[in-house]
Subunit: 674 residues, 3 copies
Amino acid sequence: MSSWPHPRMRGRVAYGGDYNPEQWTPDVWREDIELMRSAGVTMVTIGLWNWAEVEPREGVYDFSRLDEVVGLLHEAGIAIDLGTPTASPPSWFFATYPHARVVTRDGVPLGFGSRGMASPSSPDYRRAAIGIADALARRYGDHPAVVLWHVHNEYGAPVGEDYSEHAVREFRRWLQERYGSLEALNHAWGTAFWGQRYDDWEHLGLPGPTPSAPNPGQQLDFRRFTDHQLRACYLAERDAIRAHAAQPITTNFMAANCPTTDLWAWAREVDVVSNDHYLTAAEVEPEVGLALAADLTRSVAGGAPWLLMEHSTSGVNWQPRNVAKRPGEMRRNSLAHVARGSDAVLFFQWRASRVGAEKFHSAMLPHGGTDTRGWREVVELGREVGALGQVAGSRVHADVAILWDTESFWAQDLPWRPSVDLDPHERIRTYHERLWRDGLTVDLAHPGADLSGYRLVLAPASYLLTRDHAANLTRYVETGGTLLVGCFSAVVNENDAVHEGGFLDPLAEVLGVRVHEHLPLREGESIEIDLAGQPVPGTIWQEDVALEGATAVGSYRDGYAPGGPAITRHRHGAGIGWYVSACPDVAGLATVLAGVYRDAGLTTAEHPGVEIVTRVGAESSFMFVINHTDREVRVPIDGNPLLGTAPVDGVLPVAPGDVAVVHHTQAAVVAATT
Amino acid sequence: MSSWPHPRMRGRVAYGGDYNPEQWTPDVWREDIELMRSAGVTMVTIGLWNWAEVEPREGVYDFSRLDEVVGLLHEAGIAIDLGTPTASPPSWFFATYPHARVVTRDGVPLGFGSRGMASPSSPDYRRAAIGIADALARRYGDHPAVVLWHVHNEYGAPVGEDYSEHAVREFRRWLQERYGSLEALNHAWGTAFWGQRYDDWEHLGLPGPTPSAPNPGQQLDFRRFTDHQLRACYLAERDAIRAHAAQPITTNFMAANCPTTDLWAWAREVDVVSNDHYLTAAEVEPEVGLALAADLTRSVAGGAPWLLMEHSTSGVNWQPRNVAKRPGEMRRNSLAHVARGSDAVLFFQWRASRVGAEKFHSAMLPHGGTDTRGWREVVELGREVGALGQVAGSRVHADVAILWDTESFWAQDLPWRPSVDLDPHERIRTYHERLWRDGLTVDLAHPGADLSGYRLVLAPASYLLTRDHAANLTRYVETGGTLLVGCFSAVVNENDAVHEGGFLDPLAEVLGVRVHEHLPLREGESIEIDLAGQPVPGTIWQEDVALEGATAVGSYRDGYAPGGPAITRHRHGAGIGWYVSACPDVAGLATVLAGVYRDAGLTTAEHPGVEIVTRVGAESSFMFVINHTDREVRVPIDGNPLLGTAPVDGVLPVAPGDVAVVHHTQAAVVAATT
Amino acid sequence: MSSWPHPRMRGRVAYGGDYNPEQWTPDVWREDIELMRSAGVTMVTIGLWNWAEVEPREGVYDFSRLDEVVGLLHEAGIAIDLGTPTASPPSWFFATYPHARVVTRDGVPLGFGSRGMASPSSPDYRRAAIGIADALARRYGDHPAVVLWHVHNEYGAPVGEDYSEHAVREFRRWLQERYGSLEALNHAWGTAFWGQRYDDWEHLGLPGPTPSAPNPGQQLDFRRFTDHQLRACYLAERDAIRAHAAQPITTNFMAANCPTTDLWAWAREVDVVSNDHYLTAAEVEPEVGLALAADLTRSVAGGAPWLLMEHSTSGVNWQPRNVAKRPGEMRRNSLAHVARGSDAVLFFQWRASRVGAEKFHSAMLPHGGTDTRGWREVVELGREVGALGQVAGSRVHADVAILWDTESFWAQDLPWRPSVDLDPHERIRTYHERLWRDGLTVDLAHPGADLSGYRLVLAPASYLLTRDHAANLTRYVETGGTLLVGCFSAVVNENDAVHEGGFLDPLAEVLGVRVHEHLPLREGESIEIDLAGQPVPGTIWQEDVALEGATAVGSYRDGYAPGGPAITRHRHGAGIGWYVSACPDVAGLATVLAGVYRDAGLTTAEHPGVEIVTRVGAESSFMFVINHTDREVRVPIDGNPLLGTAPVDGVLPVAPGDVAVVHHTQAAVVAATT
């Protein structure tokens, strides 16, 4: 196993992006490389979409054009992240192996002519993917320009679930391995309900179209299986490369935005975590969602530096309204990723495509060429990223963790829950946004992780919580931690079966409450909580909460449980357990969390709209101050700016929309700002 | 043929619910039965979902667990409604007979792993269903604990329509029987339109995907066929049971909520009508819809007592937002059903399922166990239901009937009608709600029924009305009845062909009007009717009405026919015919119906928000007073309360949310309250 | 080749409609013809839906009933437009050739029982269609009553696109013809993007379901192919008829409302253009859309008179809410079509169908018969149309053209454009409505057409604009024309590839601007343009515009490019080029176009809500004045009214909702009113 950074990239924040020379003629390659150099590009990703070029017929390879591009980049001193093109098999593949196509839930096979892999369960696809990965590794495994391998592209997008015959067969095999016996499977899935018992492995199928809701256990396992199959494809390619190549290997994640992959499991299998991130254009403050994605990426990486593999210079092309970035926004986005742990600023893509489905995606080199605002900002950003080399390798410290468990999201996403309005991602985003606005740096954490390093752990949406994980949270509180649990948590176990003892039973002791009934609100309905005299409005949800030792800090003024406990606090062991049985919004959470912060010994920042994050290296720390507002902010700090020239003496003025990075040789500032 | 009540249940309002012991271990069964006894449970339904348990392989039966449960219940004195499990065939069935799967209109077969029957036209399914029904009847046909047979579950849900090859073949056969000749079919369907003539029975198909709207006659007949096939399944099982069992037989309807079954036809085939009812959580006053469903159930039962086979203690799990019931609401719901003719208060289900798709459905025994509000209310209700034994067998009298014709709903539901906003169910609900608020008890009636017992008949939405049925309505008026017909009625005949003579032609004489043109309004548009100086607003619809003898009681102030007749009144024979060519809302109908009530000699109640219904027995009557408001009401009445203790002397005070049942030994009160 | 008018129809504006005698018995035929005569009907269309009647078995013909109808009409002096029934093949056809069914994108074959042709690529369908056309032409090719042949019905509706195996095969053949080599195809489609290269013609498929967006070039070519295949069907029937018949031949278009046909190409293949038009009921002023459809029909006819083949007397049946026409509206609609070039007023249909999917469509003879407002208006209109014979053959002159290019609409409609809100049809409708309100008569023009006759050319939405067409626009300006180009124009070439040089590059010289970036707005967001001090609001869209010689007449006050150019004006050669980078609404366009009109030397009318259009004949002109308002208007004019009796002396008063047609013996008025 290898690791990042590759020696060639040490002490550098990589700058560059996806490069698709197969779309261009060699004269354009030469112009590209010259412009890359003038933009400060240090690394590009190639090879993601050229399978048809390098293997024009099955088993026949032609590396001539790729060799030439690799050579040109090498000569220019630009490092290469070399992709495998397995996200888009060639036309010959689909013509030869039509049964390898992904099939939708409704039975429609998805054909050639777009992008998207074949069935992850197809043995023909698996063999072909290993074949091209092997051929590439043999050819470029010791090439000095190649500093990273990039397997496939965005596993799980645009397709993850597959209902092909291959998938049926592999699902049965996977279930046999998981359960060992039909008795165990029948028990786990609760097939006594609605007479769904299986007496023969061959009767098992995928959760396809059925007259009513399919078995939840089957559905949940199908999601696990889908994730497993995608990862098996990755592992097969990775191992094929490793056999001939020593460089680190990654595959690009889509943190916070790919429902089919469990990144905690994936992150264990890469040498360096890399991530693609795109703003949600409909959001007025998309930087908040960016922070969550970056925090999650860093967290699955175990805190290690990671690579921002893709983002965009401006608008994308696949959203309903592809809003462009305002002047300065690309820079703020890029540096926010670096602030939160990225050691790279990479874009999709280098040169805007004239053809194909993504021609309206912004690029480092726009359609309008170099006499455009876009290009000028890219060049300027390249210069700045080049000045941030010292930051590479440093880490971000967080005092707060929010639980993030993909299995729980999968389970809660199944049909027939109490309310379609209750969305775990919305809940987590809302709590995270509150902390972002309060200037607190946050990790995401798996519920089974070691939480002892955090002052505060939030579980806004832990619908599926195993007894083991509940015990982990209980231990955390017993040893002095502060825990906040949100509504509709600890409802089911790993089989989506309601916990014996009822909702929230596994946390009843640590929280001192039980939930007797869920009380979803009608569409548009709202309720109010009386929190020590302060009103906190809520929508979507209430619960009938029974106190078993906890104190009702807030109670419902109205709704279905007037007078009942809404927000509770319970001392357990050396720590405190809070329970919030409703859905306050970001503003309401300010009231709710005030007491929680107090219990956790946390203080909030004083600069609303300003993002302050610190990266800590072996000997230095780097404070990133990103001003998202349209007014100047003044941050009390000393130090040397990495961006800008004048040393900071007591107060750092940051202009509207500007970013400052201040360098300290000791780590003292960390505590003060997080 | 047998009938309800079974001797064991005489003089009792049954209390209990669905019980699914196959989901639990025997130790839980024993706990269940003990708790059932403490809750006053007198009857449970078992056996609806255990096909895989009792017939684990085709033709191989294993009744051991079922025997044990039946025995335990019998010992505990709890009567059994024994189900056939044919709503959910086992995995071996679908694996052995894949062609027996229901196929959707788009050609997708619906697989195993959920619930839902096989194709009702599949001979394999028919044979298998008869087989298990026969086996159960042979084993339990003379068991003293079994007081009722419960065939299948909710025919028509979750699937009714089937586009499988079996369905094509049976549809052709059904059409041959219905029409005798292709000439007759071509004429009925109007196949001269768009060149759709058939010259060969084998060319006939189902109304599947076509480039434009399929033939309406074909579509209407497909709905009739679907209903017929489902009923044929029921009849086959019923007859198989009857061969070996003497107990009454039912199947649970979903009155007002199952678009694929024509309950008038079904009710003739059961020994006792039973019904499942669930509140629509999105409604703020769901008790109004409950009353309609209960009235419809009683009406299809021909006025005889019926069984509330399923309802819920609190929220369900399959609506978008499953609102819980407020304290007291379960009790009010249960007793409202009894007031409207039910001799049972049964729930889905006894014990909340820990697993499967319905784990979030409320139950008599909640996930939280016996130390919950839910359980305490269940026990208290059981006590009260136990005190209502005298009510069993009594009947409800109604002076008003609303026409309800499933065939007309089917026809109006076909595509390409004048306005998508005009919904016959909405119209009927709106008129029914007006009468509910006015304290009038209402039957639903088929347009071909004997209407002579009613003072007032409303036909709010009789789009398809045959000349025979129109003649029936005409006779009703001629002999002194008051009839109100709503807009877009008597438009087509039984083949969905516009009546010769134009819209409303069959009622032109009795109503004294003709409709020259439908005038749908744009989305959100509204108009106003001048009704003797009072404004009545309308949405969705107007008509160009021509008077042919009637008086324009109300006329349009605006819209597409300003000054034209909107509401007309016509003396015909000894009675009166009203026509309402618009869509007033519940409030507007108060103005419209004032004169109609006067014509019919009806007076309205004085207690808004209070539901008063009287059941009349051979020697006694029982007045149910249900206070849905948050204030006390005082009802002038004498009598002895069945619930509560103090005799009523002149005035009955009913607390907010409370229910009173007052017992009289003579039937005098009836007239005063209905 | 023949041409319209057939000698029998010379000097007449035809009056009548679709007649479907196959739905009725012979006694009704006789009543029909009598009523036709009393209504002034001069021409009816028959034979569109009787394939099953005239060819009851493959190759066996039975013309007996058709002969009788033709004879009756002939005797009554009513001319016949004889249809071929190929829009609805008989049941035997689909039973014999199941593979001839159209297949949807999801793979669902569309069956019999509705209407809609078979696969346009099916050789069996082609042969059968030619067969029936040939048989009809042989029998009626020299019948004196037949004055026009009407091939098929509304090609492209209800289905155009077909994903059957026949379509795959023909698509490959069509591509081979179009591109000659795979190299050319790969280049045109840009298959280097996402690795989509083809090395074998047999690997090519239709743009069916794929994991992500299919190749845009493939999709665009599939739309071209679909249009081609439909037209090939038409041509095959046309040529079969021509072999035996001398009468003119048409097929009815659906101008402005059929996305699958490129009417510029179709119009070249018919002897006379005919069009079906239906109001969009949801529109409060549907006459505006009517004008656009009529202008487009006239324009594709090259300015020659055309035939309004179908419209409705009142509401239709296939819209969500089929709003009826108000009194006088049918007349205004009919005469507006005549004003804009139609030499016919024809309806769907003569007698309302009692059966089938269109029974709620209004007709000349309503369900209510002759004692209805509808019938009386039909008779009165027939009288008036009969008085307009002199108008036949005259033409409409327009000073303004709006570009209309179906290929550009197809391309812009593909997925993954910058904003789903930007709709070329909406843009064209908005500009056209502005001109309609300003009293300017407008042609639609293909971007490659000779534009020299227009004072002003508008290109509101020319997303796909080839360099050749851009050169045509440039020449138009250079020689003195005024050109206005709307946003998101000249973006791609004929392969949907972004123009080299960037967006708008082909028009950069004539407009003096470049577009560096598209700036879509968020949903509901709006911006404001400062146009010489006047505010012009915009929604949906902005652009980052760089001046290269043009003057910024208006600039953005806010949004993503505050201060940037919004509306520019550029003198080029002898003319002026305007660029509007935003989306003003109809009101805002009044401000924007004021200066444009000035440049073009156009003056606007003074009568808002009044439509004034002039038709010019060889010796006379006819001024149509249609008052859509609820107040009288007074138009300054002399002349002799064709409708009404008193000669006009200086001022023509037109009552609310009324229409006047004034006749002049010289053409002087033309300039003053257009």
